[in-house]
């Protein structure tokens, strides 16, 4: 079943087209990695899917999931670094989309938050302050919050940026497990190597063109060769045109 289907999607960034005529779809159970150089419109696309930004033409169709039921893991902001909030407060805030008219949390919300906390194995730090956690722990907390908000679909915006290699691979394992348990995952990343390793499908965005297909198809393309060369050997290929 197609959860999300984008057809001939065009979006603008500050009045200038960010990308044009993008067509792709996300099936139930997919692990889609969105890769591409800086400025290729990845973040704009994420905002479009979440309904935070209007698209100029084309269509996005949702099947069995609403935009506000997507478990979103945004990039961290500078203000969050010293934010006084306990892990419990942060995770619980993921349940807010469930009670539209109720000003406070209900029992189901709290149980849900407990479940997701257990899933992310962060029970021991529930009473700790978010600002005192390591980068990896913070991402687990935000992932638990995202899981509170969704049943089916996670949208992760560069979930491993700034994490050390060991924590990065742990994070990938956690995401991989979630995907295995039936959660559909969309992940924006610069980490091309892990994208093709864990992702089942790849959407490679570049200034004038895009690739959408399975990871196996992707690794045979010229874009992949350019992207991986640029990223692994520092020749700057990442930031030039994809083709």
């Amino acid at each position: 079943m197609k959860l999300i289907e984008c057809r001939d999607l065009c979006m603008k960034y500050e009045g200038v087209p960010a990308f044009e005529n993008l067509t792709f779809s996300i099936d139930d159970g997919d692990f889609l990695c969105i890769v591409g150089e800086n400025g290729s419109g990845k973040s704009t696309l994420v905002k479009g899917i979440l309904g935070l930004k209007k698209y100029s033409s084309g269509s996005i169709t949702f099947n069995g999931v609403k935009p506000k039921e997507i478990g979103y893991l945004p990039q961290q902001t500078a203000a969050q670094k010293d934010f006084p909030a306990t892990v419990w407060e942060v995770v619980l805030s993921g349940c807010l989309n469930r009670n539209t008219f109720h000003p406070f949390y209900i029992k189901e919300n709290k149980e849900r938050a407990k479940r997701e906390i257990a899933k992310m194995k962060i029970e021991s730090i529930v009473r700790k302050s978010y600002r005192d956690l390591s980068g990896g722990q913070q991402q687990r907390v935000l992932l638990a919050r995202a899981l509170c908000a969704t049943e089916k679909l996670l949208l992760l915006d560069e979930p491993v940026s700034g994490l050390d290699p060991i924590v990065t691979s742990e994070m990938y394992e956690v995401i991989h497990e979630l995907n295995h348990s039936g959660v559909t995952v969309i992940m924006v990343t610069h980490d091309i190597h892990n994208a093709v390793h864990y992702g089942s499908k790849i959407l490679n965005m570049s200034k004038n063109d895009y690739f959408f297909g399975t990871s196996d198809e992707y690794i045979t393309t010229e874009s992949f060769r350019l992207m991986s060369r640029g990223c692994f050997h520092g020749e700057g290929g990442c930031f030039s045109h994809g083709r």
Binding site: K68, P74, T77, P84, P103, A149
Partner: protein, 272 residues
């Protein structure tokens, strides 16, 4: 001591100062936590200068000061929000421009109309400036702010902590931001008479900053800063009466002392 305190609060102007001050400090602390965490600490300062300009124009035109100043300051709050969102200018630059312009316009209007007002009392506040009308207005505003804050507490937390996530899950962040700005503007105008244009913003930021040194959670910071704010105000008010210093300055001095103690306590807690 008790007799002296009773004597102090037998004056009607001290009673009014206590009622308005406690309520304004409470509201300022509740809103302040969100403002400080969103890096809008200077918004109170900017709006209070606009308030000064508005009061000056009202004095020159001979219209009711609060009735004129509240809409003007609320409009400026919206303007600041809009510039920060859409414009190319940073919020800090926008506040700097707005506050100095408002101050300049106020001074010019006063000079051209040859109005003499006690500038000192507008700048640093005066407990004698409060009327019965101010008391009624501040009670109404504070009750509104407190009820709204309690009902929207979890959503305010979500929007303050992570606006992108909150918006993605269907919370209308823009409305909450506007709402916080409007409430801030009202609290600033009401509190300005007492604290003065230069000192009112300290009521918003000091208690939250102090609490953030020692508290770990958002709820504990909120409760702690509300308590710190009200206590510092009361101690400052009574203290400044006995030592015979300007009230606003006395309150800020107490806030500073508490901040330093909390900062030290926070350090010691970290080391352990």
């Amino acid at each position: 001591m008790a007799d002296e305190l009773i004597a102090v609060f037998s004056y009607p102007f001290m009673q009014r100062a206590l009622i308005v001050g406690v309520l304004v400090s409470l509201c300022a602390a509740l809103l302040g936590t969100s403002l400080v965490l969103k890096r809008y600490s200077m918004i109170g300062d900017g709006l209070s200068h606009v308030g000064y300009g508005a009061f000056a124009i009202a004095a020159a035109a001979g219209i009711a000061p609060l009735a004129f100043a509240i809409p003007v300051v609320v409009a400026s709050a919206f303007l600041l929000l809009y510039i920060t969102r859409k414009g190319k200018m940073g919020g800090d630059s926008a506040i700097a421009i707005l506050s100095s312009s408002a101050l300049a316009i106020g001074m010019i209007v006063l000079a051209l109309n040859r109005v003499t007002i006690d500038i000192n009392s507008y700048m640093f506040g005066s407990i004698l400036a409060l009327s019965e009308e101010d008391v009624v207005l501040s009670v109404i505003c504070s009750v509104v702010v407190c009820i709204a804050f309690i009902l929207l507490y979890h959503r305010i937390f979500a929007v303050t902590f992570d606006e992108s996530f909150a918006s993605a899950t269907g919370i209308r962040s823009g409305i909450y931001n506007a709402f916080i700005s409007v409430l801030t503007a009202i609290v600033i105008v009401v509190g300005m008479r007492l604290m003065g244009a230069l000192l009112i913003s300290s009521l918003m930021i000091f208690p939250s900053l102090s609490s953030m040194r020692v508290c770990r959670g958002f709820r504990s910071v909120t409760i702690c800063s509300a308590a710190v704010s009200v206590i510092c105000f009361t101690v400052g008010l009574v203290g400044s009466y006995f030592v015979n210093v300007p009230t606003g300055a006395g309150i800020v001095a107490v806030d500073l002392a508490v901040f330093l103690v909390f900062a030290l306590a926070g350090r010691l807690k970290e080391k352990r």
